[in-house]
């Protein structure tokens, strides 16, 4: 898989299919925002509204925000990362099935459909990230060059999203109820990501269990840098990268192994 010919072919394909790739991303955006009157603005507004509701619910009704510094940013960090993961993997998962007519009639690399959905999700994420920084400024977060470290988890998360998308898209071709099962899984994931609560509330021996959740690892990375103004330890960096590489390899392997079977199931 990592032979020179593979990369040569990938580079050749990248050039050959660049136009298609752009068109696919354009299509994703057009389809998403055609109906919405506010266009791309909606993609910024939607997480903000969620943020607003969550902040209201958890500070006013449940009192979770007590004693947490920068609770808004705490929430926003969780939502930002979790939403990126959710959007990329959900869209990536259904991309093969949605384009089944094309895949069975025209010879194009099928992973392009998955990749384009992931890139669309990333663009969305980067737009929201800008709003995130605006909120940080308003909330009195201290900006420093340390913030540049965020490139690191963003990169790994993007790679992990693509790996998970490859994996799910492959499964979805075979099992059509994956969409619902994955919906349930995402709901569960939402609750174990410590988006609105703090891990400190649990006994210390459970803290490491949270590190089994790759999305939480990225969320915590964000919080460490932005709120706690700390640089995560080397072990933590390796953990973050490790998850991404693991899922990327698993996704690529699964996709490669089954890609020639898809045609019978689409």
């Amino acid at each position: 898989m990592f032979k020179l010919t593979f990369w040569k072919k990938a580079l050749h394909n990248a050039n050959k299919y660049r136009f298609l790739f752009e068109q696919l991303i354009l299509r994703d955006f057009r389809k998403k925002y055609r109906r919405a009157a506010l266009g791309v603005l909606w993609s910024l507004l939607s997480p903000l509204l969620t943020l607003f509701v969550m902040k209201l619910v958890f500070t006013q009704f449940f009192g979770r925000g007590d004693g947490v510094v920068h609770y808004t940013i705490y929430l926003f960090s969780g939502l930002l990362v979790y939403n990126f993961y959710r959007e990329a993997t959900q869209a990536g998962m259904s991309s093969l099935m949605e384009n089944n007519k094309i895949i069975s009639k025209i010879n194009v690399p099928k992973y392009l459909f998955i990749l384009s959905e992931n890139v669309s999700a990333m663009i969305n994420f980067l737009l929201t990230l800008v709003v995130y920084f605006v909120f940080c400024a308003v909330d009195g977060i201290h900006f420093s060059p340390r913030m540049l470290m965020l490139i690191h988890p963003i990169l790994w998360l993007t790679l992990m999203n693509f790996g998970v998308s490859l994996l799910l898209a492959s499964w979805f071709v075979f099992f059509r109820d994956m969409k619902y099962l994955y919906g349930v899984f995402l709901r569960l994931l939402n609750y174990v990501c410590a988006i609105f609560y703090q891990v400190d509330r649990f006994p210390k021996r459970y803290h490491n269990l949270f590190l089994l959740n790759p999305v939480y690892v990225v969320i915590k990375y964000f919080r460490l840098i932005v709120i706690d103004e700390k640089i995560p330890s080397t072990q933590y960096q390796v953990l973050c990268a490790g998850y991404a590489i693991f899922f990327l390899i698993l996704g690529c392997w699964t996709y490669n192994h089954y890609k020639n079977e898809f045609i019978y199931y689409l």
Binding site: L26, R27, K101, R176
Partner: protein, 317 residues
């Protein structure tokens, strides 16, 4: 050096009750051992080679494995055995009108489809106007795709695909599309592409098209190769006689193949002479007739083969 080389190719197809099921159903079916995957050989031991500029016509009844073979040549499916080599760029015309996005505009769909067919941005910008003009849809470019009639859809699909300058052209029953004027226009365009030295593979139910365009013929029956030959006339005659109820010849290389083919072909020629003596048209050219001629021919065929069905239809109005 052959442009397409197909050596002992076998293509498997999977059938069974596994399509469109969920994980829960899969587990249930596995648990009750009712999960069935049947592997069917759509094609077996197919051998042919085409040089540059040659045109192959594939004939065979429905379900013979023609379209599957085309998909393998295109690269959409992989052969399970044998080797299939192609040299140069491939343009495939397979059920063109599918895969468009109904919610997007004609303009957006045109660019997207062009991109999928491997055209570059510069190429599309240059050709966009002429594509729409060719399809006769210039004033509809901001309509959504679902607003078009099915004729318009196939015109657009053809116009985009026909911009190619490929080394290999693959056609599945789409030599010409649409009705009336566009039928002629698309047929002419296709002939123009074909005359530019392209190597082609054509699947068509119109034997007269195969006779006209192809210099090689491949006859497949239920996945088995009856023949690959450059005697197009002989095998087209034999195939037509077979369609009228003749006995299928043994595979090429087996005893009695040449004899049976010759017998069928002679039979077909006699049949044609008989028709000509009666002053009747060759039934195969129905697609090229005027509407009145086509209807008359269709009624004649029905009178000959299905008089009951025809009478029933006439009685019910």
């Amino acid at each position: 050096m052959a442009v397409i080389e197909c050596k002992d190719v076998g293509i498997r197809y999977k059938t069974g009750n596994f399509r469109g099921i969920g994980l829960k159903e899969y587990i249930m079916k596995r648990a009750t051992s009712r999960y069935e995957v049947n592997e069917v050989w759509a094609d077996k031991h197919i051998n042919f080679a085409l040089e540059k500029g040659e045109m192959l016509g594939i004939i065979g009844t429905n379900g013979a494995g023609k379209s599957t073979l085309l998909k393998a040549v295109t690269g959409i499916m992989l052969p399970a055995e044998g080797s299939l080599r192609t040299r140069g760029s491939i343009a495939a015309f397979l059920e063109l009108a599918t895969g468009f996005d109904p919610e997007m505009t004609i303009r957006e769909n045109t660019y997207l489809r062009g991109a999928m067919l491997g055209y570059t941005r510069a190429f599309m910008l240059e050709r966009y106007d002429s594509i729409l003009e060719f399809a006769g849809l210039t004033e509809f470019q901001d309509y959504t795709f679902k607003q078009l009639s099915s004729g318009m859809k196939s015109r657009l699909a053809f116009a985009i695909a026909a911009q190619v300058d490929p080394d290999i052209l693959i056609l599945d029953e789409v030599l010409s599309v649409g009705d009336g004027a566009f039928r002629k226009k698309s047929g002419d365009k296709m002939r123009e592409i074909l005359s530019a030295g392209v190597t082609g593979v054509l699947v068509s139910h119109s034997i007269s098209q195969i006779r006209e365009l192809c210099n090689k013929v491949l006859w497949i029956d239920h996945g088995h190769q009856i023949t690959f030959s450059d005697d197009v006339e002989l095998y087209c005659d034999a195939y037509e006689a077979f369609l009228r109820g003749g006995t299928l010849p043994p595979l090429q290389g087996e005893d009695g193949h040449a004899e049976q083919v010759a017998r069928l072909a002679a039979d077909q020629r006699a049949y044609k002479e008989e028709l000509a003596a009666k002053g009747l048209e060759d039934t195969d050219r129905i697609s090229e007739m005027t509407k009145e001629q086509a209807v008359a021919t269709a009624i004649r065929i029905l009178q000959e083969h299905q008089p009951d069905a025809l009478n029933k239809q006439l009685r019910s109005g």
